[in-house]
């Protein structure tokens, strides 16, 4: 055992015997990540629905449907992690009010219901059209989705618009609560020195918004490229500026948190400093706080401030967004796994090894991460998400 780099100048890597494993692994890393994408995408869709930012109109519904697609899978990693997933309903039937995690079930489900109602209200016109166009089983499906009301008149359209705005309005604090709550769940674990900070909910929330906007940017540019429809550069510019601002706030919080803990030189700094300079040096110092943060700050800053247009703007936006979706993913890893590397003895570090084929391995994580995109694709086959016709499907239809 090395003496250098161990907490408190300890000579021996002293770990409590019941504390040799990292029990919350990759599943618990992607759980806050997916939840964050939901919250971020929703906030982006509210830019138009609530705040009336006109540039975001083309992606307002897209961000909402994407938020829903991610939302469906936010709790999936938790189910995989549980030894007994068939007991998941018990968190709803006998929730204990002193357990932060126990109340998460309600926070998450109520938010998903709100999201579904908002999408329903916005897409009701489409559902009614489909119900009247189709025959057979599909007609029954669409009629059920319309709740049997197959006429659409201007009065109900007007009412729906107001209702959608109201739902989006209460959706913002709700989305913030949802993801702030995830940060709260971690931040309130006082046994883990690296988690226990009152700033944790705010850091989780701001990074959620960053990851959501960045992911929407990547999806938007990919979908537009596939559709061959041409890019809306006014939107892209606004997108980049919003993302840059959101990340400045997020990065400031992350830096402030570590600066505060470091400057305070509190009891836990003796274990946190060697953690960051040792096991987490690559993923935290170089990754999260270094390359994956300074890179996007620079790239998005250049794209926001300088007079960059067209394709160059798109490429810079994609580069910055790509780094940011990874920055947030690595941040989740550094928090979840990093925090558990500290033994409860606070005098030693536990080892962590990546698994691939295991129940909670990288393969499972990859499948869960792909699922929302597949879901989005399936939904997009049934309802129009972007305005205008797709260039790559139209000619094929015409030739049939």
């Amino acid at each position: 055992m090395e003496a250098i780099g161990l907490p408190g100048g300890a000579l021996v890597n002293y770990i409590f015997p019941n504390n040799a494993h990292v029990t919350w692994s990759i599943m618990i890393v992607i759980y806050p990540y997916i939840t964050g994408l939901v919250a971020g995408a929703f906030v982006l869709s509210s830019m138009y629905h609530v705040f009336g930012v006109k540039e975001f109109k083309p992606i307002a519904n897209f961000a909402l449907v994407a938020a829903f697609s991610f939302g469906l899978f936010a709790a999936m990693p938790l189910l995989v992690h549980l030894g007994q997933p068939q007991r998941a309903y018990q968190i709803y039937t006998t929730p204990h009010t002193t357990s932060a995690m126990s109340i998460f079930g309600y926070v998450y489900s109520s938010y998903l219901v709100l999201l579904m109602i908002e999408i329903w209200v916005i897409y009701r016109k489409v559902f009614i059209e489909k119900a009247n166009e189709t025959v057979g089983n599909m007609a029954i499906f669409w009629k059920i989705l319309c709740l049997g009301i197959t006429t659409y008149n201007p009065e109900s359209a007007h009412f729906d618009k107001k209702l959608a705005k109201f739902l989006a309005g209460i959706g913002i604090p709700w989305a913030c609560l949802l993801h702030g709550y995830v940060g709260f769940v971690f931040g309130s674990v006082k046994a883990v020195a690296w988690w226990a900070t009152a700033l944790q909910p705010f850091i989780f929330l701001s990074s959620a918004i960053v990851s959501g906007i960045a992911m929407m940017f990547l999806m938007y540019s990919f979908i537009m490229w596939r559709r061959g429809q041409g890019y809306d550069y006014a939107l892209i510019k606004k997108f980049i500026i919003t993302l840059w601002m959101a990340f400045i706030l997020d990065y400031a919080l992350e830096v402030l948190e570590i600066a505060f803990v470091g400057y305070e030189q509190g009891a836990h700094w003796a274990v946190i400093k060697p953690l960051l300079m040792g096991p987490l040096y690559n993923s935290y110092v170089l990754g999260q706080m270094g390359i994956l943060s300074l890179g996007p700050l620079l790239v998005l800053g250049i794209a926001s401030l300088l007079d960059i247009k067209d394709k160059a703007l798109l490429y810079l936006g994609n580069l910055g967004s790509l780094m940011l979706v990874f920055q947030v993913l690595v941040m989740r890893f550094n928090v979840v796994v990093g925090g558990q590397l500290i033994s409860k003895s606070e005098r030693g570090f536990v080892d962590y090894e990546f698994e691939f084929f295991a129940k909670e391995g990288l393969l499972t994580a990859g499948i869960i991460m792909v699922a929302p995109f597949v879901t989005y694709y399936i939904i997009s086959r049934f309802i129009p998400i972007f305005e205008g016709k797709s260039m790559d499907t139209e000619p094929k239809r015409a030739s049939m």
Binding site: A20, T93, H96, V113, I149, S156
Partner: protein, 159 residues
């Protein structure tokens, strides 16, 4: 048939939501165990259920009744503090009314039982005998697939 009003869909939506909430409350009521203790948060019947299970382990005292000589021998060895059933398995069904009714089988074809305790882990005291992959491979250079019990007697493992 008259056309539905402009807010008819909202009325139906509210009806669906109220119906879902009602269904949830009914399901919650039905699936929550009747003996649920809301004060200490556990299922009251679980205590009776657990105590109704027959014990699978007999404990060292039940072994000593017949195997007194082994017990005396063990007192001089380093494994003296271990429970017999740690290696021999749960033995409550080994003897019934003074008659032996089941075997006390030990898997002597592999080393997994030894490694249950002696697998190397950073959280174990440094002076506790531990064997990691490397150390096991060193032993197996002597003879491939060599297991611990080829040289060490489980009751008296001192090399």
């Amino acid at each position: 048939m008259s056309l539905p009003g402009p807010k008819a869909h909202i009325v139906r939506l509210v009806a669906v939501l109220v119906g879902a909430l009602f269904a949830f409350l009914v399901i919650k009521e039905v699936v929550t165990p009747s003996s649920w203790n809301y004060k200490d948060w556990y299922r009251g019947d679980a205590l009776a259920l657990n105590s109704s299970y027959e014990a699978a382990y007999g404990g060292n005292q039940s072994c000593v009744t017949c195997h007194e000589e082994v017990n005396q021998e063990l007192a001089e060895f380093r494994h003296q503090a271990l429970s017999c059933e740690s290696c021999h398995g749960a033995l409550a069904d080994h003897v019934k009314e003074g008659e032996k009714i089941g075997d006390a089988v030990v898997d002597d074809a592999s080393s997994w039982q030894c490694l249950n305790c002696h697998d190397a882990q950073v959280s174990k005291p440094a002076n506790f005998p531990q064997f990691d992959k490397e150390k096991i491979e060193e032993h197996q250079e002597i003879e491939p697939d060599m297991i611990c019990t080829a040289c060490h007697t489980p009751h008296d493992p001192t090399p």
